[in-house]
């Protein structure tokens, strides 16, 4: 997979789903609970995003050296 618009679009969908979850939890409970869920999702997103970037970068490097 390349680092292009299609890859970034997937992040729009991921962040959209995460935002919808935070909004739902906030409306069903209290803003504090929604904030905590948002914080957990941001931390999880940062870890996942770091691994994603690292993997893509490695793939791009391997593809270049293989060609």
């Amino acid at each position: 997979m390349k680092l292009n618009e299609a890859a970034v679009f997937k992040w729009v969908v991921i962040v959209g789903i995460a935002a919808a979850a935070v909004i739902a939890v906030t409306l069903l409970t209290r803003p504090l609970v929604g904030s905590l869920l948002g914080l957990v999702l941001v931390i999880a997103g940062c870890i996942y995003g770091y691994r994603w970037i690292e993997q893509r970068w490695r793939e791009l490097g391997a593809k270049k050296s293989g060609s």
Partner: protein, 208 residues
Amino acid sequence: MESATVAVGHDHADHHHGPPEANQSSRIDRQTLGILLFIVSEVMLFGAFFASYFFLRVVVDPPSWPPHPYELPVAVAGMNTAILVSSSFTIHYALESIRRGNRTGLKLGLVATWLLGATFLFIQINEYVHLGFSARDLSFGSIFYSLTGLHGAHVFVGLMLLSFATIRAFRGHFGPEEKDHLGVEVPGIYWHFVDIMWLVVFVTVYVL
């Protein structure tokens, strides 16, 4: 040996005119790398504004947020969020179309994205007019207008980029090859970034 090097140097000088070729990453084209680095710097800029927002809200800790008697039009902003999120789908459709060689789909997707972005900006300006408070009213007013205004400025820049891409699309500039539609790809990546940032701004400012 020395004469051979000089000879090669002369030969090279005879064939190459102008400055030497700029070095570039072997893993990613320079346009995509440029927009990604730009986005990283933009994330830091938004991060500074979010830091101010959370400082005012958590550390200063006013009795209520938004401070009484101010209210934020959550429903209107929610509708605006739906408009902006849908514009990410239309720009993605435009790019998928040109990857398959469908120029009509590219034009349709770009025009739809531009219209959705302009609608978002129009609704936001209309919201500012009817809010009932200004950037001078308390720190809440300042940070509200700073965060949403910063984002609005980014939408405006995105619309300018989309305008150029749309004009070029109607003049038949883009093709299915990856290198032939970078002029849509780069604004597309920027537009997705603007969309993601709005989701964060909306949830933080209007919902939480």
